[in-house]
Structure formats: structure tokens, C-alpha cells
């Protein structure tokens, strides 16, 4: 049980995929204009990550080493297709807002990296802990960026007006530069609070 917790926590702080390992950045920056989009994107990534790594871990002893990458890709793209089709069917507006970034989960480096580094070597239970931890770590970062961008960009929180309606909105927070600026500041903050030697 302790091992389960350690694997789970590792993804949130120790090896946070976005802020520590610098992977899976594209969707973090692209969809974080609205908090709602962030949460659904996080849910989609958690589903694909956990589902595909669970399958990869379960079949790890039957997969020949030489063809493992194509097999991983097929498993991951199956789960991505499920998410894509379900979103298009039941949440069309959201699917429109997230756009190409739902299909792009298939090349999200987080999933491939965890499949290669963790799921293809470890038992199923630990893999679930690791995937959930990584997914939650990803979702926390994307939500943290989303809160700031929506609040200062639109003066809103989950579409509710927070700032007075005379608030003009900081254009830079909605546009790409704001996203790059924020993630730079977040990584610097994490470096400040969790100093590591190999920066």
C-alpha cells in the first residue's frame, strides 16, 4: 500500500510530467484559456493514460521487445479514439473547443514515456498508481494555469464574472505569450520550493 502511495505521489510532485520532465506541454498551453476546458482535457488524459498503461502492463510479458513501440502506439490510439468519439457524440461544444488536441493525446509524450519507462516493466497495480499520479499531476498544472488565464484574461471563474464588468481583460493572458510566461514562472516557483541539484 505504501508503494502504491509513493508511485502516486511521484507523479504529482517528484516527477511532475509537465513542470519536471517537460513533456506533454502542447495541450497544457493550448487549452488552458478556460478552466472548464482544462478539467475535461485532464480527464481525457487520465482516462487514456490509465487505460492504455493498464493494458500495456497486463500484456507486457507477451510482447516481443522489438515490436513493442508499434504495439504501444496501437493501444494508445485505441483509447484516444474512444475519447475522441465519445466527446464528439456527447459534448460537441467541448470537442470543438479542444479541437485537434484530443486526437493529439496519442502523441502526448507523457503516455508514451510512462508506457516505456514504467508500464512495460511493472505490475498492473503499481502501473495504475503511477498513471493516476501522472494524470493528476498533469491536471493540477493545467488547472493552475487555467485559473490564472481565465481570471485575468476574461475576469471570470468557470464563466462566472469575478471582476467588475468594467474590467477590460489582459489580452496577453488569452494569447500564446501569456501561456509561455505563466509556465516559465511556475517552473521557476517549483525550482524555488523543491530545489534539485540537477537543474
Amino acid at each position: 500500500m505504501k508503494e502504491f502511495w509513493d508511485c502516486f505521489k511521484n507523479g504529482i510532485v517528484g516527477e511532475n510530467p509537465v513542470l519536471r520532465l517537460m513533456i506533454g506541454l502542447c495541450s497544457v498551453l493550448a487549452v488552458s484559456v478556460r478552466l472548464e476546458n482544462c478539467l475535461f482535457m485532464g480527464a481525457a488524459v487520465i482516462f487514456v493514460l490509465t487505460g492504455s498503461n493498464l493494458v500495456i502492463s497486463a500484456i507486457r510479458n507477451f510482447v516481443p521487445n522489438e515490436v513493442r513501440i508499434p504495439i504501444f502506439i496501437v493501444v494508445i490510439s485505441t483509447f484516444t479514439t474512444i475519447v475522441d468519439l465519445v466527446m464528439k457524440a456527447y459534448l460537441p461544444a467541448l470537442s470543438e473547443a479542444l479541437g485537434v488536441f484530443i486526437p493529439l493525446i496519442v502523441v502526448n509524450c507523457i503516455i508514451m514515456a510512462r508506457a516505456e519507462a514504467f508500464a512495460s516493466r511493472k505490475p498492473v497495480i503499481l502501473t495504475i498508481a503511477d498513471s493516476l499520479g501522472m494524470g493528476v499531476g498533469y491536471t493540477l498544472v493545467i488547472a493552475a494555469i487555467g485559473v490564472v488565464r481565465e481570471l485575468f484574461g476574461y475576469g471570470q471563474f468557470f464563466y462566472h464574472q469575478i471582476f467588475p464588468s468594467s474590467y477590460q481583460g489582459m489580452m496577453i493572458m488569452i494569447l500564446p505569450p501569456g501561456a509561455f510566461l505563466l509556465i516559465g514562472i511556475y517552473i521557476a516557483l517549483l525550482n524555488h520550493f523543491h530545489r534539485r541539484d540537477n537543474l
Binding site: 517537460m22 508499434p70 502523441v107 505569450p177
Partner: protein, 194 residues
């Protein structure tokens, strides 16, 4: 379809809608491969090569096989597999026939399979209903924009090594702050193409 329209597609793909700085796609190689100019040039070449070939291959598959047979729901799986196979093939062919070129960009090829920029361009080519010529021009434009952004950042990072960066901003944070300034500069291209 005039030459002017093709030129517009090219400019908007390379500058106005720069794949990295305006659309946030392909950030992993952008951050990972930009530590020096030589590496980023090799990566840019490899991406250009694969991007053009991949978008031609997926365009042909999509229009001649998938749409007639009604298999559109397989898009994600097939496109990523086409790219993976293409990269493997290219690696083998280049190794045998053009060893010089392989030396220059061989080590970047395996990294490209999971490059989201390539997959995104194949999706966009299909989404925008481009014909073959437009797809080729579009993918060359995107690849050029990718290479420009990568080279610019690599140049900045080489200079950054000699600057005094505050302690907690050393490493990745300052790279993102530089990217932020680059993205602001690229916003100047907005409205260039009507």
C-alpha cells in the same frame, strides 16, 4: 487556384499561424532540441522531410481509401501508424542510399514518430479540404515555420549561456520566458494575410 492563393497558404502556415508560437504544437522537440544551432538545424531538416512525405501519404490514403469506404473513425490510429512506418522506412532508405544525409539527420528521425507537429499537420491537411498541391505547400510552410522558431530559440539559448540569469530561472524557466517574447514578436504577423 492561383499562385497567389498558394503563396497565402504558405505565408500563413509559416509565419501568421506559426505552429509553435501561435498554435502551441510541437513544443517537446522545440524545448528539447534547441540547446544549440547545429542540432536544431538537423531537427528542422528531418521534420521538413517527414512532414511533407507524411502529409502526402495521409492525404492520398484519406481521399482514395478512407472517405470512399466510410472509415473516417479510424483516422487517429491509421495516421499515427502511417507516420511511424514512414519514419522507419526513411531511416532504412537513407542509411543505404544517402549516408551523408543520414549522418546529418539520422539521429533525429526516431524522435519524430511522436512529434505532435507532424500528426497535427496531417489532420489539418484533411480538415481544411486541401488538394494535393495545397497540402504540399501547406506542409512545407509549417515545417519552415517550425525550423525558424527552433533556430531563433537556439540562437537565444546560445547567447543566454553568457548572461546572468536569476538562480531559479536558470534552465527551463528562462527558455519559456524567451519563448514568450518570441511569441509576442510573432504576433506582429497577425493580419499579414487576409
Amino acid at each position: 487556384m492561383s499562385a497567389m492563393d498558394l503563396f497565402k497558404i504558405f505565408i500563413s502556415a509559416a509565419l501568421v499561424d506559426n505552429i509553435i508560437l501561435a498554435r502551441y504544437i510541437g513544443l517537446c522537440p522545440y524545448i528539447g532540441m534547441s540547446s544549440n544551432v547545429a542540432n536544431s538545424l538537423g531537427m528542422g531538416m528531418a521534420v521538413t522531410f517527414v512532414m511533407v512525405l507524411a502529409s502526402i501519404a495521409t492525404w492520398a490514403l484519406w481521399n482514395f481509401i478512407f472517405v470512399p469506404l466510410g472509415l473516417e473513425y479510424l483516422q487517429i490510429m491509421v495516421f499515427i501508424l502511417v507516420i511511424a512506418v514512414l519514419v522507419q522506412l526513411l531511416e532504412a532508405i537513407l542509411k543505404k542510399t544517402v549516408p551523408n544525409l543520414y549522418q546529418a539527420m539520422g539521429i533525429y528521425l526516431p524522435l519524430i514518430t511522436t512529434n505532435c507537429a507532424i500528426l497535427a499537420v496531417t489532420f489539418f491537411g484533411v480538415d481544411y479540404n486541401y488538394n494535393l498541391l495545397q497540402v504540399v505547400v501547406y506542409s512545407i510552410g509549417v515545417a519552415l515555420g517550425f525550423t525558424i522558431a527552433l533556430l531563433l530559440l537556439a540562437g537565444i539559448r546560445e547567447k543566454l549561456r553568457f548572461s546572468k540569469v536569476p538562480q531559479f530561472y536558470q534552465g527551463y524557466p528562462i527558455v519559456f520566458i524567451s519563448t514568450c517574447l518570441l511569441a509576442i514578436a510573432f504576433m506582429g504577423f497577425k493580419g499579414l494575410v487576409k
